[in-house]
Amino acid sequence: MKTRKLTAILGAVALTASCLAGCGGGKADSASGSKTAASSPEEVSTADHVDITIGGLSLSDSSTGAWPTEVIKAVEEKFNCTITTKAYDQESLNLDLSGGNTCDIVQISDGNIEGVLKGKHAVNLVDYKNIAPNIFSDGMDYRNKIMQKFKGDNGEAQYFVTPRVVSKDYAKSYGSVVQYGYVVRWDLYKQIGAPTITNDDEYIEALKKMKEIYPKTEDGAETYAMSAYNDADLHTYFFKGCLGEGYLNLEDGLYVQDAQTNALVVDVYDKDENVKTPFWSGVEFYNKLYKAGLLDPDNFITKGEDLTEKYTKGQYIGGTVNWYFGTYNSNNKGTDKEYVVLPSKLGWVNEQNRAGWTGKYLFVSSHSPNVERAVMVLDYLQSGEFARSSDSGVEGRWEKGSDGKPHLTEDTINMKVDGSRAEEWKMSGISDSRVDNLIGWDYNNVLADGGRVSLWNDEDVMKDSLTTAELELCEHFGISLPSDLLKNGVEKGDNMDLSKSDSTIRMCLETIPKNIVRIDSNCIEITKNALPGLIQADSDEAFAAAKEALLQQLSDASVKESIDWWQKAWEDSKSAIESLESK
């Protein structure tokens, strides 16, 4: 009996030890596959067919839809591989990293950078420079410098690339319509005489009037101005404020960035009487809606999907963003019953993401059995050619016109709008949201052939795509595209876009220490729970009291410690970037 016990214990110890040894991240095997002998992509043999998996926090599973699309098929043929994408959530990503067996190409956010670097999960792309001409192309120079300095070991090595880099050959674009701002139902807005809306108060007045003439939908459901979406923490409130006051949000909204000066502004814990920060601007707006009886009574329980459902039923007459409309507009095609967006102070266009999108870093796994092929695929995803084909379709879907520039073919444009060709459209893979986060170049970069990456942003194409309500809107205001409202506003100085804001500062912040993360998430939780008291405040005094109580709670949750850290880190990041640029 005793011997058996002893054996068991010994066995346990041995197993534990072996497990512990097994969890050591990249270990030595990352060295064996590293560095390529090939001096150009052509020299790498692609004779054997391999599987390349791409997994990421902001990707979705290729198995849940049309796959491989025309665009992906072309890549597969080029590199003789089968490409699949996988959605990672934080949990499965952590596990795969701990076990050291991730997908071949992985996309992570800031939180995992430290683990990937320390655990040596990523290959040094510089070692593969010869077979990665697109990653190391001139247009990506600035991005690469940033990655090397801030997302690596501060030296020569580079482990990550980012999607949607804005290059020097960027052509300004306001898009065809305004995406975020003051949403109105065009038919109702017209009926109340299309009053000018330049601030929240004017907007609320307009909403009141629209609700008066449209108290119930055709099906008899009650109408409301709008509702918050509650599955994205505080986003609904501070994003509204950002648009109204001219700020950029930084992840969770405790802090924001001034869109003009790029200064860090403490958003929720706002003690400064003179500045109205986005969060408080947003909350006040919702409070006003509440007091005017315009707010959905389900304001605090509605999630994004419920919102989509209510928009589809036509129960909302306003809003701030255009991504929840569901199928309302297409259901009412050809009529003036449509949601359109009027610009608020800040228009979300012309972002200068010179180092690409923040929080979406891609790397090639050192555990991949086919590092070279994976690097080549990632490199191709970073190319202008791939960006064009996934945003505008493979060659043939667009053609060179008589002016020598590329244009979408009639057939392609027709395919997008023709409902009966929906299946074909899906299979074509054009502007497939699943690969959005993999594309290296921004939509509006101009390629060597003189056309933008996304040919949909050509003026003529945009004009053709306008709906009945949008055309009426243009006619009413005497403009050619709905987005001209914003464009003219920016030119006059009434509105602003993001061309002056620098998204790189956020990207280059040092890793947020755990205690700060803890404080921040606690503060968000406290703020979330204080929202009903604020928004349902019946008087200004009640609102002020609720605000005071919230600030006190935040202060008790050591928010000041967090503020100190953020302000210092922000300045550090700013000066580090400046010194990098001056070099």
Binding site: T16, G25, F300, I301
Partner: protein, 304 residues
């Protein structure tokens, strides 16, 4: 029921029995006990993806943090309330089994028996979407309540912090009641029919049969499950609560499991999450052993 089992009533041990059990015990060891080495993560500042040897040793830092964290206290309170309601409702499946058993064998009984288990197969995400359709301010049940003068539309059940405990417990019962009664149906099926005959001969009616034959036969199972449940006091799961949580219900709905989920994944505070689960495991085992001891005192027979 307290009869000694075994072939020969003697104190001698039969090692053959042990040898036969060893393969199973090994499996239990390999898959349930070996992973416990993960508890050491609670003593380190673990970063997913980095070998534990490269992480900073922090000692009992995370355990101290549990004591300092006000959120843990609040989450514990909610967990206790849910657990106590849940424990009070444990006899329900047994009651359902008795009531079902009283029905005559036939299509009705089969129908009820099958369909009461159905909600168990529907995931919480879908139950949540259904609950929204029924209980939101324009949901059917809310509108019905308004018409009957039982409430007003601006105050829906989904956004009521006061109703959280009852509403969520009701949903749990709705989802699991039929399913949990299966085990009692099996216990009833195991009753020796002779016992009923004997009771009838003694002049017992249906009701007395239920009390004196059916109920005792289920009691053993009930007690065992009850004691096991006490050990699960802190394990409420998080999915349901995560879905139904919103700004209005947050104060009462956040249970310990949900809090652990939040800090472990959303804050990437893995080590802290492990520290909480270590404490939870120890509390669970203590509770179950204590409950077992009480049961032994009362019934003279231990469960585990």
């Amino acid at each position: 029921m307290n009869r000694k089992r075994g072939f020969v009533k003697s104190g001698s041990k039969d090692y053959k029995l042990l040898w036969m059990a060893i393969p199973f015990i090994t499996i239990v060891f390999l898959f349930s006990y070996v992973p416990i080495f993960g508890w050491i993560y609670s003593f380190f500042d673990y970063v997913p993806g980095v070998s534990i040897f490269d992480c900073d040793f922090v000692g009992l830092e995370y355990f101290k943090l549990i004591l300092k964290d006000n959120n843990v206290l609040r989450a514990l309170k909610n967990t206790f309330v849910f657990a106590i309601i849940n424990i009070c409702l444990t006899p329900l499946p047994m009651l359902l089994a008795i009531l079902l058993n009283e029905l005559r064998n036939g299509p009705v009984k089969k129908f009820v028996q099958t369909f009461t288990t159905l909600p168990n197969f529907i995931s919480w995400v879908i139950i949540f979407s259904l609950a929204t359709a029924l209980f939101a301010s324009d949901g059917i049940i809310t509108m019905l309540a308004v018409k009957l003068g039982l409430g007003d539309a601006s105050n829906s059940l989904l956004g009521s912090n006061e109703a959280v405990y009852w509403f969520q417990s009701f949903l749990v019962q709705w989802k699991t009641l039929g399913w949990n009664s299966i085990i009692y149906m099996a216990a009833i099926a195991g009753i020796d029919q002779e016992q009923y005959e004997a009771a009838r001969v003694d002049g017992a009616g249906h009701f007395k049969c239920a009390i004196h034959v059916t109920l005792p036969a289920m009691m053993e199972t009930f007690v065992v499950l009850f004691i096991l449940n006490i050990g699960n006091f802190l394990n409420t799961g998080y999915e349901q609560y995560l879905l139904f949580k919103n700004s209005l219900t947050a104060p009462n709905i956040e249970v310990l499991d949900l809090y652990t989920y939040r800090i472990g994944l959303q804050n990437m505070d893995y080590s802290y999450g492990v520290a909480i689960s270590v404490v939870k495991s120890i509390v669970s085992i203590t509770l179950v052993l204590a409950a077992n001891m009480v049961a032994k005192k009362i019934r003279g027979k231990a469960v585990i």
